[in-house]
């Protein structure tokens, strides 16, 4: 870890547990230790249901860890993480607001004048390639376009940290690549700290500076941490052709594969039991 950069997000042995309906305690994540340096792009990869999103919610302050601590820029996190912008997996836009109003709201609630907020929002919509769609309602936009609006909505507040929960999960393969490149382009402009959750290892390597692997739940742990030294700026589709990419992919996959099989076995057993 480069000690010259301040740590944007630090999880110190964070354990997350939920109380189940029958009073048992389900430990989702156990003693997760993770740090994201300022300006660093970290991807978390793990099998389905391993608690990746849980970890992200802890970093966002939406969930409190049962044990351990969360520090944001070396300050213990109290309540919601005000330095972070969160891009959700599910549709999170306000359906009753047009695209431009959805983006402008982030500024308006800080007390910015509406005219100014709208102007900035139009700028951000143009930046994500939706300048001509500002007066559409979310249901009139495609899944990819909604994600673009979501990205603009989060970025207009200029958060120091970006938390992303499988943001391109529901999109088709081509749109995912386009969105990945858009994300890298926007990120390249001012290098925020990014914590990016995905189940797609290729996407993780193509985007991130570091790839963190989680084990299958329950009691998921962080079991691997790889540095991706592919040069930037990258193009998502081209970077996949490189030799270094394939070597790294093979190396990480050899670890991840076992966990994916474990996670799959558990989910099928759970399905049979119920």
């Amino acid at each position: 870890m480069d000690t010259a950069q301040p740590t944007a997000v630090a999880l110190d042995d964070a354990t997350v547990a939920f109380r189940l309906a029958d009073a048992r305690v389900y430990t989702a994540v156990e003693k997760a230790r993770l740090s994201v340096a300022h300006g660093e792009f970290v991807a978390i990869v793990g099998p389905t249901g391993c608690g990746k999103s849980t970890l992200l919610n802890v970093a966002a302050g939406l969930l409190k860890p049962a044990a351990g601590a969360v520090r944001i820029f070396d300050q213990p996190l109290k309540g919601l993480n005000r330095d972070a912008g969160y891009l959700f997996q599910a549709d999170a836009l306000f359906p009753w607001k047009t695209a431009i109003d959805n983006v402008a709201i982030g500024l308006e609630i800080t007390g910015a004048p509406r005219a100014h907020a709208l102007e900035r929002a139009q700028g951000w919509l143009t930046a994500v390639g939706l300048g001509a769609f500002s007066h559409r309602y979310p249901h009139m936009l495609s899944g990819g376009q909604r994600k673009r609006v979501g990205l603009a909505q989060v970025l207009i507040r200029d958060p120091k940290i970006l938390l992303m929960d499988e943001p391109f999960g529901p999109l088709d393969a081509q749109t995912r690549q386009i969105m990945g490149n858009l994300l890298l382009e926007l990120w390249n402009a001012d290098r925020k700290a990014v914590l990016f959750v995905t189940h797609d290892l290729e996407e993780a390597i193509a985007l991130a500076d570091r790839v963190v692997i989680m084990s299958a739940g329950p009691g998921a742990r962080i079991i691997g941490d790889w540095r991706v030294s592919l040069p930037r700026p990258r193009d998502i589709s081209e970077v996949r052709m490189e030799k270094q990419f394939h070597e790294l992919h093979r190396e990480i996959w050899s670890v991840l594969k076992d966990e994916v099989m474990k996670g799959y076995a558990q989910s099928t057993q759970a399905a049979e039991a119920s």
């Binding site: 966002a60 939406l62 919601l80 993480n81 005000r82 972070a84 912008g85 969160y86 959700f88 599910a90 549709d91 999170a92 836009l93 306000f94 359906p95 009753w96 607001k97 047009t98 709201i105 982030g106 609630i109 800080t110 309602y137 979310p138 249901h139 909505q153 989060v154 507040r157």
Partner: protein, 262 residues
């Protein structure tokens, strides 16, 4: 089916039904009238009655009264339903305390309240408005309550992560959600506002469409009863068209304007 053919067949249904009615009410079959005019009147008499109402202008006063009562019942019931529904949804403890009483009042057939309202508020429009309000209030109340309760947690979390405080969440998330559910029950609540007005008039009043029908029935003028019913249906259809137009404007952000829930 193309639009003109559809319209043609729809018109044919009316023509056939009215012809049969006219035929059996005026031509004896096997020496017996199947639809005795005393009980069933006939289309010609009914429509001449309607024509007379409109040509002399008597009907306008009654229509205006019924419309005014319906509007008042709708507005008062909706405002009350939105406010109370919103309050209950945001204060689960209040909702839990009042829950059995809300259920109890809602279980009561509202018609039995009409005599009490007449006693309290007299024979004027306010006893009818009150009856309409008791109907409209609960529809709006339940819809708004549900709407606020079922706000998507992702949208809520998004609002929080964007930095909204509770007041801003109320304004930008809970409130639009509640209103959209209110609008989705617009057809039902407007319909019930009219029902409240007409039933109230029927049970005791000095003006309105319900009064007109009740008066005709009192003197066994079946033709006028049917005429009143036709005017009433046309009145409700016109209001419904108006509601649909309002709804299209207000719910543009919805994929398809949802059907009302009663």
């Amino acid at each position: 089916m193309s639009r003109p053919t559809l319209l043609f067949w729809q018109l044919m249904v009316a023509v056939v039904a009215l012809s049969l009615w006219q035929f059996f009410a005026s031509v004896p079959v096997f020496g017996k009238m199947l639809l005795p005019p005393f009980f069933f009147s006939n289309p010609v008499d009914v429509f001449s009655q309607i024509f007379k109402w409109f040509s002399t202008g008597v009907i306008w006063k009654h229509l205006a009264i019924t419309l005014w009562e319906s509007i008042l019942a709708f507005v008062i019931g909706s405002v009350g339903g939105v406010l109370v529904g919103f309050w209950f949804a945001r204060q689960p403890r209040v909702a839990a305390v009042f829950d059995p009483y809300v259920k109890m009042i809602n279980a009561l057939p509202r018609v039995v309240l009409a005599p009490i309202f007449t006693l309290w508020l007299g024979l004027g429009i306010w006893s009818k408005v009150a009856l309409g309000v008791t109907l409209v209030f609960f529809i709006v109340f339940f819809n708004v309550y549900q709407g606020v309760k079922e706000v998507s947690t992702t949208v809520l979390d998004n609002g929080r992560m964007l930095g909204m405080n509770e007041r801003q969440l109320t304004r930008h998330v809970y409130w639009p959600s509640a209103l959209s559910w209110m609008f989705s029950s617009l057809h039902t609540s407007v319909g019930f506002a009219v029902v409240g007005a007409v039933v109230g008039e029927y049970l005791g009043s000095a003006a309105g469409l319900g009064y007109l029908i009740q008066q005709a029935e009192g003197v066994f003028d079946v033709g006028a009863v049917f005429a009143g019913m036709f005017v009433l249906s046309a009145f409700v259809i016109l209001i419904d068209i108006g509601v649909t137009m309002v709804e299209r404007r207000l719910l543009v952000w919805r994929p398809t304007a949802a059907e009302g829930r009663g």
